[in-house]
């Protein structure tokens, strides 16, 4: 280092004169030293107590890493950087740079302290029973939550960075000997190959992990809860945690996962099976109910039972729009209300519900613009939509699509749409796992954790539906005795 002042000028210039760059010049053991950091990213108290105070009180400080390490109360190993670019990178990440007169090297210390959210129950995955912890935006807190659950050296955390400007830390987590090495290397490769300016959220990474670019369905599992993530990696999946996002990604992903919930595993298996069937029914109602209603009432009313037909006919007499337009109007209205309620401040949400339910719905029915069966069908479909919360946008889109097909082609169109949907899903694969497994292809051992769920003690094997290693999860209870 030629001259400490010139070095500081160069560092300042590298940050283009940003106002939050702080430089602190000190006398450390009769030598000039300077500390550079970004305001707001470090623990000021620790800096004063553990770094500056010991340095200024040091009687003699030679400009070597060993001497500095001995002088300060800093537990981690001092990072020594040979060139300026590397130390600038460290400062940008939130570390402290220490420059000492007479030294050829730059020293880095990490006492980061970001503003972070407390661990709390995630709003999208609330449970009656079971752990309530949710992931937060800080990757270290998230990793700690996982480590606390898997106390094994086989839990591997592979850290990398992505985003040319953001340099976002990304962790690939798996259990060695359980996860498939092929899947692990594929995930790592795809993350390494991301070449964009910034990763803001894990959903950015998810798009790169998907097998099909324009797939309608999510091919990457998401969770906000460490207990769910732990369960998934114990089955042999690979998880990806992205700094700045509370949503953790898991691959491979099966459609069946969307119908499973952590609550199922903390409950009796018959109850869990029933709930899963109800979720399936909810999904079916969401996508097909408006279309089937429209197909029967507009095209194939002769197939309806007479009394039901009479009720429907009485309700739709005098309605201004024809059935397809009416149904489309109601669905579009629902989508608009849904979007508005998501973006509106919470205290206004209740008012919006009242406006939606009473003012819009009731008044429209009374005015004869829409019929009450159409509102009922949309309401049931809307409730069903949230039985599978991670596929809301896909199901919502499919519902509209199938409705339009039904309006044009009636029951014939609905049946064709159903066949097409199943064929499309049959064609999807996630990291070597058929998306519809364990139903297509049928994987009999995995049926224990499908729509019919067996008790935890009987799940002695890891899933066969996707690639993993070491199938045995537990010895059969009979073998233990």
């Amino acid at each position: 280092m030629k001259d400490i002042e010139s070095e500081l000028r160069q560092i300042e210039q590298a940050f283009l004169g940003s106002s939050d760059i702080r430089i602190r010049r000190i006398n450390a053991g009769h030598a000039m030293a300077a500390i550079v950091y970004i305001d707001g990213l470090i623990d000021r108290e620790l800096l004063e107590e553990n770094v500056i105070k010991p340095l200024t009180h040091a009687e003699k400080l030679s400009p070597t890493a060993e001497s500095i390490q001995r002088s300060i109360y800093y537990c981690e190993e001092l990072r020594v950087k040979a060139n300026r670019e590397e130390i600038i990178e460290l400062i940008a990440e939130g570390d402290i740079a220490l420059l000492v007169e007479g030294s050829r090297e730059y020293f880095g210390l990490s006492i980061r302290k970001y503003p972070r959210r407390a661990v709390e129950e995630p709003p999208t995955s609330t449970v009656f029973k079971g752990p309530r912890e949710g992931f937060v935006e800080d990757i270290k807190t998230n990793l700690a939550m996982v480590r606390r659950r898997v106390r094994s050296p086989n839990l591997v955390v592979y850290m990398t960075k992505s985003g040319k400007l953001t340099g976002t830390p990304i962790a690939v987590i798996y259990i060695e000997g359980v996860a498939s090495p092929h899947v692990v290397s594929k995930v790592k490769e795809r993350i390494e190959n991301i070449n964009m300016d910034g990763i803001i959220d894990s959903s950015y990474v998810a798009r790169y992990l998907e097998e099909k670019k324009y797939s309608l369905f999510t091919e990457v599992g998401v969770t906000e809860k460490p207990d769910i993530m732990t369960a998934k990696i114990l089955e042999g999946r690979v998880a990806v945690i992205v700094d700045g996002s509370p949503i953790v990604l898991t691959v491979p992903m099966l459609l069946m996962e969307e119908f499973q919930d952590s609550f199922d595993y903390y409950n009796k298996s018959w109850r869990a099976s029933l709930l899963r069937f109800l979720r399936l029914l909810g999904a079916f109602f969401t996508i097909f109910l408006p279309a089937v209603y429209l197909a029967f009432t507009a095209h194939a009313y002769s197939m309806l039972p007479l009394r039901f037909l009479m009720s429907v006919m009485n309700a739709v007499v005098g309605i201004t729009f024809n059935a397809p337009i009416e149904m489309l109007v109601v669905l579009v209205l629902f989508e608009v209300l849904n979007q508005a309620s998501l973006r509106m401040p919470r205290f206004l949400g209740i008012s919006l519900s009242i406006v939606g339910a009473i003012v819009l719905g009731n008044t429209a029915v009374q005015a004869g613009l829409i019929s009450s069966p159409a509102v009922l069908v949309t309401a049931v479909s809307a409730i069903g939509l949230f039985c599978v919360p991670d596929q809301v946008s896909t199901f919502s889109f499919l519902r509209m699509l199938v409705l339009i097909v039904s309006a044009v082609l009636g029951l014939f169109g609905v049946i064709l749409a159903a066949i097409m949907l199943v064929a499309y899903l049959s064609n999807l694969n996630s990291y070597g796992a058929p998306y519809l497994a364990p139903y297509a292809p049928i994987v009999l051992p995995d049926m224990k954790d499908s729509f019919l769920k067996d008790g935890v003690p009987t799940m002695t094997k890891r899933p066969y539906s996707f690639p993993n290693r070491n199938r045995t999860r537990q010895r059969h209870p009979d073998q233990n005795s």
Partner: protein
């Protein structure tokens, strides 16, 4: 290029769909017109089908076309062209029949073109994506189809009389054979499966699938005859019409939609199997799968758009056409099996001593990459 390897169990489901779809739609009506309401014609068709399936299963088990590796090109290329044409023709005729059935049943006002253009979408998608997608789709719909069939049969509301089935030999056997073989279009369902390769051969799903499917076909025709008797000549699509009379009709309405749902699903899956087989055969000749798919699917669509329904209807029930179809289809299966047998024989006859002979013997056993462990 998508893989043609599916599970044994999936093959059994595809056999079921292939057997049930068109044999239970218009065939019983045609048969009753020719030979009356007795079961002998149906039994004869079933026996022929079972024999052909056994041959195809043997061919698949011995390694299938993959093990021939374009050997005997002078024989293989014409064979592939005939198979492709056969399957494309069969698929086109059934596609057209299915579309007119749909139009008559549920969509009188729609134009033929609209029905053709919409019906082809899922069929083409599955055919292009390959047998694995077809098999998985069939696997998903199989429980639903079986449930709907059992439900409609279990709660039939009608005066069933098994005596409506005439005694078996009301005509000389030769006459039965003459009329039955004339419905060759409805036979040789096994042909597209020549291109399959199967996982877990040891499990008995294929044989169970063949046995169960054709037993179900015979049982359904028997029940249909018992339900409709001589009126069978007017029924049209038995698979759907059997739902017309049901104990739950008052509560649930006209349950024909259940038949339509099951039949249309099976139709889409079976037709995509036929188109897939045709594409596979043509791909082995022209080497470009996308081109083969485009030729077959576009050609088929144009044919059904151009040719009038009445022409198709009168064409498919011409006995000569039936004989040709049955003959050509069966000949293809036998020829394919002969080529494979010839290759296996040649390998086992190869000279050499010691290790070389061992290798040849191993080749003969593992022909087509089928290792002992797979068998």
């Amino acid at each position: 290029m998508p893989t043609n390897e599916i599970y044994n169990r999936q093959f059994a489901i595809l056999i079921f769909f292939a057997a049930m779809t068109f044999k239970l739609s218009n065939l019983p009506t045609f048969l009753s017109t020719s030979v009356g309401v007795n079961m002998l014609a149906a039994v004869m068709i079933t026996v022929i089908e079972i024999v052909l399936y056994v041959l195809v299963a043997l061919f698949i088990r011995s390694g299938g076309f993959d093990s021939l590796d374009y050997a005997y090109k002078p024989a293989q290329y014409p064979l592939m062209i005939i198979i492709s044409l056969f399957l494309a023709l069969k698929a086109t005729l059934f596609f057209s029949g299915a579309a007119y059935n749909v139009k008559g049943l549920m969509f009188d006002q729609a134009s033929n073109e609209l029905i053709f253009l919409t019906l082809i979408i899922p069929i083409a998608f599955m055919a292009v994506k390959g047998i694995r997608v077809i098999a998985r789709t069939a696997e998903i719909f199989f429980p639903l189809v079986v449930f709907l069939m059992v439900f409609s049969i279990a709660f039939i509301k009608g005066n069933m009389n098994i005596n409506y089935n005439l005694p078996l030999l009301t005509m000389p056997i030769a006459d039965y054979a003459k009329f039955t073989l004339g419905y060759g279009l409805w036979m040789v369902d096994a042909l597209p499966f020549l291109f399959l390769s199967l996982k877990n051969h040891k499990l008995p799903y294929t044989s169970l699938g063949i046995a169960f499917s054709y037993f179900a076909v015979l049982a359904c025709i028997f029940l249909g005859n018992a339900l409709y008797g001589n009126f069978m000549v007017k029924i049209g699509n038995l698979f759907i019409k059997v739902n017309a009379f049901n104990y739950f009709a008052e509560e649930l309405g006209n349950l024909q939609w259940m038949g339509i749902l099951a039949w249309l699903t099976m139709t889409a899956i079976y037709l995509s199997t036929l188109y897939w087989g045709s594409i596979e055969a043509l791909t082995r000749v022209i080497k470009k799968r996308n081109l083969a798919a485009a030729i077959i699917l576009v050609g088929s669509l144009i044919s059904v758009l151009v040719v009038k329904e009445i022409l198709i209807r009168s064409f498919i029930i011409t006995p000569i056409f039936g004989y040709v179809m049955l003959g050509a289809g069966s000949a293809c299966i036998i020829l394919a099996l002969s080529l494979l047998g010839l290759k296996k024989h040649k390998i086992s006859q190869k000279g050499g001593s010691g290790d070389e002979r061992k290798d040849n013997a191993k080749d003969a056993k593992d022909i087509g990459g089928l290792k002992k462990a797979d068998l």
